[in-house]
Protein backbone atom coordinates (compact mmCIF):
# COMPACT_ATOMS: atom_id res chain seq x y z
CA UNK A 1 0.00 0.00 0.00
CA UNK A 2 1.42 3.37 -1.00
CA UNK A 3 0.22 6.91 -0.46
CA UNK A 4 0.38 7.70 -4.15
CA UNK A 5 -2.31 6.60 -6.58
CA UNK A 6 -1.14 4.48 -9.52
CA UNK A 7 -0.24 6.56 -12.55
CA UNK A 8 -3.38 5.54 -14.44
CA UNK A 9 -5.55 6.72 -11.52
CA UNK A 10 -3.62 9.91 -10.86
CA UNK A 11 -5.77 11.96 -13.24
CA UNK A 12 -4.72 14.67 -15.61
CA UNK A 13 -6.51 16.39 -18.49
CA UNK A 14 -6.79 13.27 -20.66
CA UNK A 15 -8.08 11.04 -17.86
CA UNK A 16 -10.52 13.74 -16.74
CA UNK A 17 -11.77 14.17 -20.31
CA UNK A 18 -12.31 10.42 -20.71
CA UNK A 19 -14.15 10.27 -17.37
CA UNK A 20 -16.40 13.10 -18.49
CA UNK A 21 -16.97 11.45 -21.86
CA UNK A 22 -17.84 8.11 -20.25
CA UNK A 23 -20.42 9.79 -18.06
CA UNK A 24 -21.89 11.66 -21.02
CA UNK A 25 -22.08 8.92 -23.64
CA UNK A 26 -25.46 7.32 -24.03
CA UNK A 27 -26.54 4.41 -26.16
CA UNK A 28 -25.84 0.69 -26.34
CA UNK A 29 -22.93 -0.49 -24.14
CA UNK A 30 -20.91 -1.59 -27.15
CA UNK A 31 -21.21 1.85 -28.76
CA UNK A 32 -20.12 3.46 -25.50
CA UNK A 33 -17.12 1.13 -25.12
CA UNK A 34 -16.02 1.53 -28.73
CA UNK A 35 -16.37 5.30 -28.76
CA UNK A 36 -14.44 5.59 -25.51
CA UNK A 37 -11.64 3.35 -26.82
CA UNK A 38 -11.57 5.29 -30.07
CA UNK A 39 -11.30 8.67 -28.38
CA UNK A 40 -8.72 7.36 -25.93
CA UNK A 41 -6.53 6.19 -28.83
CA UNK A 42 -7.04 9.55 -30.50
CA UNK A 43 -5.98 11.47 -27.40
CA UNK A 44 -2.89 9.30 -26.94
CA UNK A 45 -1.92 9.96 -30.57
CA UNK A 46 -2.44 13.68 -30.08
CA UNK A 47 -0.40 13.68 -26.86
CA UNK A 48 2.40 11.78 -28.61
CA UNK A 49 2.43 14.40 -31.40
CA UNK A 50 2.51 17.25 -28.90
CA UNK A 51 5.36 15.60 -26.97
CA UNK A 52 7.28 15.22 -30.22
CA UNK A 53 6.74 18.94 -30.79
CA UNK A 54 8.58 19.58 -27.52
CA UNK A 55 5.79 20.11 -25.00
CA UNK A 56 5.84 18.74 -21.47
CA UNK A 57 3.48 15.87 -20.58
CA UNK A 58 1.04 18.19 -18.82
CA UNK A 59 1.03 20.73 -21.64
CA UNK A 60 0.75 17.98 -24.25
CA UNK A 61 -2.34 16.54 -22.54
CA UNK A 62 -3.88 19.98 -22.20
CA UNK A 63 -3.27 20.68 -25.89
CA UNK A 64 -4.67 17.29 -26.96
CA UNK A 65 -7.86 17.91 -24.97
CA UNK A 66 -8.16 21.42 -26.41
CA UNK A 67 -7.76 20.07 -29.94
CA UNK A 68 -10.45 17.42 -29.62
CA UNK A 69 -12.89 20.02 -28.32
CA UNK A 70 -15.69 19.85 -25.77
CA UNK A 71 -17.35 16.54 -24.92
CA UNK A 72 -20.39 17.70 -26.86
CA UNK A 73 -18.28 17.60 -30.04
CA UNK A 74 -18.05 13.81 -29.66
CA UNK A 75 -21.45 13.06 -28.14
CA UNK A 76 -23.51 15.68 -29.93
CA UNK A 77 -24.84 17.03 -26.63
CA UNK A 78 -23.35 18.86 -23.62
CA UNK A 79 -21.65 16.92 -20.83
CA UNK A 80 -24.32 15.35 -18.63
CA UNK A 81 -22.19 15.11 -15.52
CA UNK A 82 -18.94 16.58 -14.40
CA UNK A 83 -16.80 15.24 -11.63
CA UNK A 84 -16.10 17.80 -8.94
CA UNK A 85 -12.48 18.77 -8.99
CA UNK A 86 -10.17 17.68 -6.20
CA UNK A 87 -9.88 21.34 -5.17
CA UNK A 88 -13.65 21.62 -4.70
CA UNK A 89 -13.70 18.39 -2.68
CA UNK A 90 -10.84 19.64 -0.49
CA UNK A 91 -12.50 23.01 0.01
CA UNK A 92 -15.81 21.29 0.87
CA UNK A 93 -14.04 19.08 3.40
CA UNK A 94 -12.53 22.18 4.98
CA UNK A 95 -15.91 23.91 5.12
CA UNK A 96 -17.66 20.84 6.52
CA UNK A 97 -15.11 20.26 9.25
CA UNK A 98 -15.18 23.93 10.26
CA UNK A 99 -18.97 24.21 10.37
CA UNK A 100 -19.42 20.80 12.02
CA UNK A 101 -16.66 21.42 14.54
CA UNK A 102 -17.99 24.81 15.59
CA UNK A 103 -21.54 23.44 15.80
CA UNK A 104 -20.48 20.61 18.10
CA UNK A 105 -18.38 22.88 20.30
CA UNK A 106 -21.29 25.30 20.46
CA UNK A 107 -23.54 22.48 21.60
CA UNK A 108 -21.00 21.66 24.33
CA UNK A 109 -21.05 25.32 25.35
CA UNK A 110 -24.84 25.23 25.51
CA UNK A 111 -24.56 22.30 27.94
CA UNK A 112 -22.37 24.45 30.17
CA UNK A 113 -24.96 27.25 30.04
CA UNK A 114 -27.70 24.70 30.80
CA UNK A 115 -25.84 23.61 33.92
CA UNK A 116 -25.51 27.24 34.98
CA UNK A 117 -29.22 27.87 34.40
CA UNK A 118 -30.09 24.70 36.32
CA UNK A 119 -28.03 25.97 39.23
CA UNK A 120 -29.78 29.35 39.11
CA UNK A 121 -33.38 28.38 38.46
CA UNK A 122 -33.54 24.66 39.15
CA UNK A 123 -33.23 21.58 36.95
CA UNK A 124 -36.91 21.77 35.95
CA UNK A 125 -36.22 25.06 34.16
CA UNK A 126 -33.67 23.29 31.96
CA UNK A 127 -35.43 19.98 31.48
CA UNK A 128 -39.19 19.65 31.84
CA UNK A 129 -40.24 16.61 33.89
CA UNK A 130 -42.08 13.81 32.12
CA UNK A 131 -45.86 14.06 32.43
CA UNK A 132 -47.39 12.00 35.25
CA UNK A 133 -48.18 8.46 34.21
CA UNK A 134 -45.44 8.32 31.58
CA UNK A 135 -42.91 6.80 33.98
CA UNK A 136 -43.03 3.97 36.51
CA UNK A 137 -42.17 3.73 40.18
CA UNK A 138 -39.10 1.71 39.11
CA UNK A 139 -37.94 4.72 37.07
CA UNK A 140 -38.44 6.89 40.14
CA UNK A 141 -36.47 4.49 42.27
CA UNK A 142 -33.61 4.52 39.75
CA UNK A 143 -33.51 8.34 39.60
CA UNK A 144 -33.63 8.63 43.39
CA UNK A 145 -30.89 6.05 43.78
CA UNK A 146 -28.68 8.24 41.63
CA UNK A 147 -29.40 11.43 43.60
CA UNK A 148 -29.08 11.05 47.37
CA UNK A 149 -29.61 14.81 47.93
CA UNK A 150 -33.36 14.69 47.28
CA UNK A 151 -36.42 12.60 48.08
CA UNK A 152 -38.48 14.11 45.23
CA UNK A 153 -38.89 11.90 42.16
CA UNK A 154 -39.47 14.98 39.92
CA UNK A 155 -36.33 16.70 41.16
CA UNK A 156 -34.24 13.53 40.79
CA UNK A 157 -35.66 12.99 37.28
CA UNK A 158 -34.89 16.50 36.03
CA UNK A 159 -31.42 16.47 37.62
CA UNK A 160 -30.79 13.17 35.85
CA UNK A 161 -31.86 14.79 32.58
CA UNK A 162 -29.48 17.69 33.16
CA UNK A 163 -26.77 15.09 33.76
CA UNK A 164 -27.64 13.59 30.37
CA UNK A 165 -27.30 17.03 28.77
CA UNK A 166 -23.86 17.37 30.35
CA UNK A 167 -22.78 13.96 29.01
CA UNK A 168 -24.06 14.86 25.54
CA UNK A 169 -22.23 18.16 25.77
CA UNK A 170 -18.95 16.47 26.70
CA UNK A 171 -19.29 14.03 23.78
CA UNK A 172 -20.19 16.83 21.38
CA UNK A 173 -17.29 18.94 22.63
CA UNK A 174 -14.79 16.13 22.11
CA UNK A 175 -16.02 15.38 18.61
CA UNK A 176 -16.13 19.09 17.84
CA UNK A 177 -12.52 19.56 18.94
CA UNK A 178 -11.53 16.58 16.78
CA UNK A 179 -13.33 18.12 13.80
CA UNK A 180 -11.60 21.46 14.38
CA UNK A 181 -8.26 19.69 14.71
CA UNK A 182 -8.96 17.97 11.39
CA UNK A 183 -9.82 21.37 9.91
CA UNK A 184 -6.58 22.85 11.18
CA UNK A 185 -4.50 19.95 9.86
CA UNK A 186 -6.18 20.03 6.44
CA UNK A 187 -5.79 23.80 6.34
CA UNK A 188 -2.06 23.41 6.97
CA UNK A 189 -1.78 20.78 4.25
CA UNK A 190 -3.90 22.43 1.55
CA UNK A 191 -2.47 25.90 1.14
CA UNK A 192 -2.68 26.00 -2.66
CA UNK A 193 -4.66 28.76 -4.29
CA UNK A 194 -6.71 26.23 -6.24
CA UNK A 195 -8.19 24.90 -3.01
CA UNK A 196 -8.51 28.30 -1.35
CA UNK A 197 -10.45 29.73 -4.29
CA UNK A 198 -12.44 26.59 -5.25
CA UNK A 199 -15.45 28.03 -3.39
CA UNK A 200 -16.20 31.72 -2.93
CA UNK A 201 -14.20 33.27 -0.11
CA UNK A 202 -16.23 33.23 3.10
CA UNK A 203 -18.85 30.79 1.81
CA UNK A 204 -18.31 28.32 4.67
CA UNK A 205 -18.49 31.14 7.21
CA UNK A 206 -21.62 32.58 5.60
CA UNK A 207 -23.35 29.17 5.62
CA UNK A 208 -22.25 28.59 9.22
CA UNK A 209 -23.51 32.00 10.35
CA UNK A 210 -26.87 31.52 8.64
CA UNK A 211 -27.33 28.05 10.15
CA UNK A 212 -26.33 29.30 13.59
CA UNK A 213 -28.79 32.21 13.38
CA UNK A 214 -31.55 29.81 12.33
CA UNK A 215 -30.80 27.56 15.31
CA UNK A 216 -30.78 30.61 17.61
CA UNK A 217 -34.14 31.76 16.22
CA UNK A 218 -35.69 28.32 16.73
CA UNK A 219 -34.22 28.17 20.23
CA UNK A 220 -35.64 31.56 21.19
CA UNK A 221 -39.03 30.69 19.70
CA UNK A 222 -39.16 27.40 21.61
CA UNK A 223 -38.09 29.08 24.86
CA UNK A 224 -40.75 31.79 24.52
CA UNK A 225 -43.37 29.15 23.82
CA UNK A 226 -42.34 27.13 26.88
CA UNK A 227 -42.26 30.24 29.05
CA UNK A 228 -45.73 31.36 28.04
CA UNK A 229 -47.49 28.01 27.58
CA UNK A 230 -45.45 25.59 29.69
CA UNK A 231 -44.79 27.84 32.69
CA UNK A 232 -41.10 27.90 31.80
CA UNK A 233 -40.56 24.19 32.37
CA UNK A 234 -37.74 23.07 30.03
CA UNK A 235 -37.20 26.57 28.61
CA UNK A 236 -33.62 26.68 29.86
CA UNK A 237 -32.12 24.29 27.33
CA UNK A 238 -33.45 26.09 24.22
CA UNK A 239 -32.27 29.38 25.76
CA UNK A 240 -28.82 27.84 26.29
CA UNK A 241 -28.76 26.52 22.72
CA UNK A 242 -29.85 29.91 21.37
CA UNK A 243 -27.10 31.70 23.31
CA UNK A 244 -24.46 29.22 22.14
CA UNK A 245 -25.73 29.48 18.56
CA UNK A 246 -25.47 33.28 18.73
CA UNK A 247 -21.85 32.90 19.86
CA UNK A 248 -21.20 30.55 16.93
CA UNK A 249 -22.87 33.02 14.56
CA UNK A 250 -20.65 35.80 15.92
CA UNK A 251 -17.58 33.60 15.43
CA UNK A 252 -18.52 32.89 11.82
CA UNK A 253 -19.36 36.55 11.22
CA UNK A 254 -15.91 37.65 12.43
CA UNK A 255 -14.22 35.04 10.21
CA UNK A 256 -16.40 36.11 7.28
CA UNK A 257 -15.48 39.76 7.79
CA UNK A 258 -11.78 38.94 7.97
CA UNK A 259 -12.00 36.66 4.93
CA UNK A 260 -13.76 39.22 2.78
CA UNK A 261 -11.39 41.97 3.95
CA UNK A 262 -8.36 39.95 2.87
CA UNK A 263 -9.85 38.68 -0.42
CA UNK A 264 -7.80 41.12 -2.41
CA UNK A 265 -4.65 39.30 -1.35
CA UNK A 266 -5.78 36.04 -2.93
CA UNK A 267 -5.37 36.05 -6.68
CA UNK A 268 -7.70 33.76 -8.64
CA UNK A 269 -6.26 30.28 -9.35
Amino acid sequence: MTDQAPANEAGGPVEDYLDQLLLSLSGPPRYVRHTLAEIEAHLHDAVADELTAGRTQADAEQAAVARIGAVRAVTGHPALFTRPSAAVLRRTALAGSLIGGVALVAYAFSAVISVGLAALRGAEFVSAPFPPGSYTSADCARWLAGDAATHSCITAMTRDHVGDIVLQGIAAGLFGLLALLAFWLMRQRWQDRGTLTALPVGSAEAVGAILALLVAAVGVGTAVDLETVGRGLGAGQPIAIALAALCAAAFFAVRLYRGVRTTRWIAPA
Partner: protein, 105 residues
Protein backbone atom coordinates in the same frame (compact mmCIF):
# COMPACT_ATOMS: atom_id res chain seq x y z
CA UNK B 1 -12.74 28.46 -43.27
CA UNK B 2 -15.94 28.99 -41.30
CA UNK B 3 -16.66 25.87 -39.30
CA UNK B 4 -20.34 25.93 -40.39
CA UNK B 5 -19.33 25.67 -44.05
CA UNK B 6 -16.92 22.91 -43.21
CA UNK B 7 -19.48 20.95 -41.20
CA UNK B 8 -21.94 21.20 -44.08
CA UNK B 9 -19.50 19.37 -46.31
CA UNK B 10 -17.76 17.23 -43.72
CA UNK B 11 -19.31 13.94 -44.84
CA UNK B 12 -18.09 14.39 -48.39
CA UNK B 13 -14.62 15.43 -47.22
CA UNK B 14 -14.31 12.41 -44.94
CA UNK B 15 -15.36 10.09 -47.75
CA UNK B 16 -12.80 11.75 -50.01
CA UNK B 17 -10.02 11.27 -47.49
CA UNK B 18 -10.93 7.61 -47.05
CA UNK B 19 -11.07 7.11 -50.83
CA UNK B 20 -7.28 7.25 -50.70
CA UNK B 21 -7.18 4.33 -48.27
CA UNK B 22 -8.49 3.15 -44.91
CA UNK B 23 -7.62 5.06 -41.78
CA UNK B 24 -8.41 5.56 -38.11
CA UNK B 25 -9.92 8.70 -36.64
CA UNK B 26 -6.71 10.51 -35.83
CA UNK B 27 -5.09 9.76 -39.19
CA UNK B 28 -8.25 10.86 -41.03
CA UNK B 29 -8.15 14.21 -39.25
CA UNK B 30 -4.44 14.61 -39.95
CA UNK B 31 -4.92 13.79 -43.62
CA UNK B 32 -7.87 16.17 -43.87
CA UNK B 33 -5.77 18.94 -42.36
CA UNK B 34 -2.73 18.17 -44.52
CA UNK B 35 -4.66 17.89 -47.77
CA UNK B 36 -6.34 21.23 -47.10
CA UNK B 37 -3.00 22.85 -46.20
CA UNK B 38 -4.31 23.46 -42.69
CA UNK B 39 -7.52 25.21 -43.78
CA UNK B 40 -9.80 22.48 -42.45
CA UNK B 41 -8.91 22.66 -38.80
CA UNK B 42 -12.05 21.91 -36.82
CA UNK B 43 -12.44 20.53 -33.27
CA UNK B 44 -11.17 17.01 -33.79
CA UNK B 45 -13.95 15.39 -31.78
CA UNK B 46 -16.57 16.49 -34.33
CA UNK B 47 -15.21 13.98 -36.83
CA UNK B 48 -16.31 10.96 -34.80
CA UNK B 49 -20.08 11.52 -34.85
CA UNK B 50 -19.75 12.07 -38.61
CA UNK B 51 -17.79 8.83 -39.07
CA UNK B 52 -20.37 6.92 -37.00
CA UNK B 53 -23.19 8.47 -38.99
CA UNK B 54 -21.57 7.51 -42.29
CA UNK B 55 -21.06 3.98 -41.03
CA UNK B 56 -24.70 3.72 -39.96
CA UNK B 57 -25.68 4.92 -43.45
CA UNK B 58 -23.62 2.10 -44.95
CA UNK B 59 -21.14 4.43 -46.64
CA UNK B 60 -18.28 3.34 -44.38
CA UNK B 61 -17.23 0.09 -42.82
CA UNK B 62 -15.09 -0.21 -39.69
CA UNK B 63 -13.05 -2.88 -37.93
CA UNK B 64 -10.75 -2.92 -34.94
CA UNK B 65 -7.09 -3.40 -35.63
CA UNK B 66 -3.78 -2.91 -33.86
CA UNK B 67 -1.69 -0.17 -35.42
CA UNK B 68 1.67 0.90 -33.93
CA UNK B 69 0.91 -1.16 -30.84
CA UNK B 70 -2.39 0.54 -30.16
CA UNK B 71 -5.92 -0.75 -30.75
CA UNK B 72 -7.66 1.44 -33.31
CA UNK B 73 -10.85 1.46 -35.27
CA UNK B 74 -10.07 1.50 -38.99
CA UNK B 75 -12.61 2.97 -41.37
CA UNK B 76 -12.81 2.13 -45.05
CA UNK B 77 -15.10 3.19 -47.86
CA UNK B 78 -17.83 0.75 -48.92
CA UNK B 79 -19.02 0.38 -52.51
CA UNK B 80 -22.05 2.48 -51.60
CA UNK B 81 -19.69 5.05 -50.13
CA UNK B 82 -17.66 5.22 -53.34
CA UNK B 83 -20.82 5.78 -55.40
CA UNK B 84 -22.05 8.40 -52.95
CA UNK B 85 -18.71 10.22 -53.03
CA UNK B 86 -18.61 10.21 -56.82
CA UNK B 87 -22.11 11.71 -56.96
CA UNK B 88 -21.37 14.30 -54.25
CA UNK B 89 -18.11 15.28 -55.97
CA UNK B 90 -19.89 15.76 -59.30
CA UNK B 91 -22.55 17.94 -57.70
CA UNK B 92 -19.94 19.94 -55.78
CA UNK B 93 -17.84 20.59 -58.90
CA UNK B 94 -20.91 21.69 -60.80
CA UNK B 95 -21.99 23.97 -57.94
CA UNK B 96 -18.49 25.30 -57.40
CA UNK B 97 -18.07 25.98 -61.12
CA UNK B 98 -21.33 27.89 -61.19
CA UNK B 99 -20.37 29.95 -58.16
CA UNK B 100 -17.01 30.72 -59.74
CA UNK B 101 -18.71 31.85 -62.93
CA UNK B 102 -20.97 34.20 -60.98
CA UNK B 103 -18.14 35.56 -58.89
CA UNK B 104 -15.95 35.90 -61.95
CA UNK B 105 -18.48 38.06 -63.72
Amino acid sequence: MKSEKLKGNLDMLLLAVLAAGPGHGYSIITRLRDRSSGSFDLPEGTVYPALHRLETAGLLDSAWDVVAGRRRRLYRLTAAGEEHLAREAREWRAFSGSVSLVLGS
